[in-house]
């Protein structure tokens, strides 16, 4: 018995909808079992993603924070070549150290690992957020003074 034989057995299993095969020929043993009892076809069944998919339509009244978060997810896929700087905490996003000062950074600006790119204020504490990557800022995803949640994308950076 060799790989070719086994291939044939597998083919036979698929064609005849066999769930399990155990064969011992001489000292050769083969035990094959298909993934799921029901022989579920490849592709995710509708049931698995549909509830989550449907709900947004029913709750159009999502707030800024939540909507931004939701929107950032598909965007993430489309812009996979960019590095994302995410918020490490829940809080309020500020682009500059104080209302009258210049912003920490801007679209087109160079940043390095230790560049402070913004502040996230949580419980009266001003937390300086560092880029932790190097490259050029391509997008600022949150407006000044807007609430952000954990993991929310703040900036997108073109790697150096």
């Amino acid at each position: 018995m060799d790989i070719k034989d086994i291939k044939q057995i597998v083919k036979m299993m698929m064609e005849n909808d066999l769930g399990e095969v155990e064969i011992a020929l001489g000292e050769n043993r083969v035990h094959l079992k298909r993934c799921s009892q029901g022989g579920v076809p490849s592709g995710v069944p509708a049931a698995q993603f549909a509830p989550v998919q449907m709900i947004p339509a029913a709750t159009a009244a999502a707030t800024a924070a939540a909507t931004a978060a939701a929107a950032s997810e598909p965007a993430a896929e489309a812009k996979s070549n960019l590095i994302e700087i995410k918020s490490p905490m829940v809080g309020t996003f500020y682009t500059s150290p104080s209302p009258d000062s210049e912003p920490f950074t801007a679209v087109g600006a160079q940043v390095g690992d230790d560049s402070v790119v913004c502040i996230v204020e949580a419980m009266k504490v001003m937390n300086e957020i560092k880029a932790e990557c190097s490259g050029v800022i391509r997008e600022i995803c949150v407006k000044n003074a807007q609430p952000v949640e954990y993991g929310q994308v703040l900036f997108r950076v073109q790697p150096a």
């Binding site: 509830p51 989550v52 029913a58 924070a65 829940v90 419980m123 954990y150």
Partner: protein, 451 residues
């Protein structure tokens, strides 16, 4: 009344709070960890905020993150649910300092009742029967032996900061007492950050009876009768019911009155539970107070026809408890079965992951409190409770029949659950007769396969 609150919990209790708020016209903001992202119940809240990664210490147990979320979400109050921060007096205090109402009792009653030594002293003061004990912390092993000789073996050694069945050891003689004392101290220090131990006479094979109380901020307290929660596995409740089949009307009235006396003694408000041990001679003893809404609260809701979550919200907003004790009438019999994602065939190990097929039970007498649905993935990170089946029927016999019928309707695949265990208990002669105590699952049912 509040117009916007935060739900600082997850899963079925988060959904329960959202439901109560929706019915009262209160907006809700749910917090969630990355492990719960996408769960359906989050979309029933008006808003939802991710506060951190999966591990509780970085999300549902993380006070700064929850308070920061409450601030950006601009809520008036926080409901902590059960577990996580629900009985954390420090959290309640931070809320108060931040001018956010904590939906629960006062910080002071949480502190007093959270410490098992103080709680027991308060119980004695309120003339609630208590077991003979060390009357305070036990410092040394020799003190422990002296006290044990006085109150008699077996004795229970408990961490002052423990609770909910955690931090307890039993000694049947001096040798075992001496053997475990030091270790218990160290463990309590590690587990609760408080090494104080106290000792009390151990009541063996007791029934677990608890009384639901409800108070307002104006000194009114009522009870909503008792629940019997003697069906436990490793001190975790599996099936709860109300009324208890083990109480005479006279005993019921004494035990319920005791609970109200204790609640009044500490100026308790919000929903709370006074737990008792009922021994085989019909004597009851104070066990502890849970200063939160409990998992099994629906059993009481069904029997008395009151919504405990709504009462918590009203009381926290300063409203008066406008029901009198005599208006609270129990009707029929309610039973709750906890459905945990655990595999009874493999020592109840957790069974997380995607639920490919799910059809819940329904029909007359059936309430289903759960956040799961077909396609939901149970995160491996948290408690294994995935739903509560509650039945309410005119008599205990009918309630048992309905519970069995409903358990038989669930279709759940491939998740393993405690449904078969619940079915087995509901068919057990001892349960049918109403004779059950907290040791029976291990002793009578599981045998060798899963101790």
């Amino acid at each position: 009344m509040f117009s916007r609150i935060m739900v600082a919990n997850r899963g079925e209790i988060a959904l329960r709070i959202i439901r109560a708020c929706k019915e009262m016209g209160i907006e809700t903001v749910a917090v969630f960890s990355e492990a719960d992202r996408g769960a359906s119940y989050l979309h029933l809240a008006d808003d939802r905020i991710c506060i951190g990664p999966g591990p509780s210490s970085e999300s549902y147990l993380n006070i700064p993150r929850i308070i920061a979320a409450a601030e950006i979400a601009d809520v008036q109050a926080i409901h902590p649910g059960y577990g996580f921060l629900a009985e954390n007096a420090h959290f309640a205090e931070v809320c108060r300092d931040c001018k956010i109402e904590f939906i629960g009792p006062s910080v002071e009653s949480m502190r007093a009742l959270g410490d098992k030594i103080t709680a027991k002293r308060l119980a004695k003061k309120a003339q609630v029967p208590t077991t003979p004990d060390s009357d305070g912390a036990v410092e040394t092993v020799d003190d422990a032996v002296t006290i044990a000789n006085k109150i008699g073996y077996p004795v229970a050694i408990k961490a002052a900061a423990g609770g909910g069945g955690r931090g307890i050891r039993f000694a049947h003689n001096e040798v075992s007492l001496r053997g475990m004392f030091k270790q218990a101290q160290t463990e309590a220090e590690i587990a609760f950050g408080d090494g104080r131990l106290y000792m009390e006479k151990c009541i063996e094979n007791f029934r677990h009876i608890e009384v639901q109380v409800l108070g307002d901020q104006h000194g009114n307290v009522v009870h909503l009768f008792e629940r019997e929660c003697s069906v436990q596995r490793r001190r975790q409740k599996v099936i709860e019911e109300s009324p208890s089949p083990g109480l005479s009307p006279e005993l019921r009235s004494r035990i319920c009155d005791s609970a109200v006396r204790l609640a009044k003694e500490v100026g308790y408000y919000s929903a709370g539970t006074v737990e008792f041990m009922l021994d085989q001679d019909g004597q009851f003893y104070f066990l502890e107070v849970n200063t939160r809404i409990q998992v099994e609260h629906p059993v009481t809701e069904e029997v008395v026809g009151q919504d405990l979550l709504k009462w918590q919200l009203r009381v926290a907003a300063g409203e008066h408890l406008d029901i009198k004790q005599e208006d609270i009438v129990a009707r029929g019999h309610a039973i709750e079965c906890r459905i945990n994602a655990e595999d009874p065939e493999h020592n109840f190990r957790p069974s997380p992951g995607a639920i490919d097929v799910f059809v819940p039970a329904g029909g007359p007498g059936v309430r289903w409190d759960s956040h799961i649905y077909q396609g939901y993935a149970i995160p491996p990170t948290y408690d294994s409770l995935i739903g509560k089946l509650i039945v309410h029927r005119p008599t205990r016999g009918e309630a048992i029949a309905t519970a069995r019928r409903a358990l038989g309707e669930f279709i759940l695949h491939p998740t393993k659950t405690t449904i078969p265990l619940c079915k087995e208990i509901l068919a057990h002669q001892k349960f049918l007769k109403g004779e059950w105590n907290t040791t029976y699952i291990e002793r009578e049912m599981l045998g060798d396969k899963a101790r």
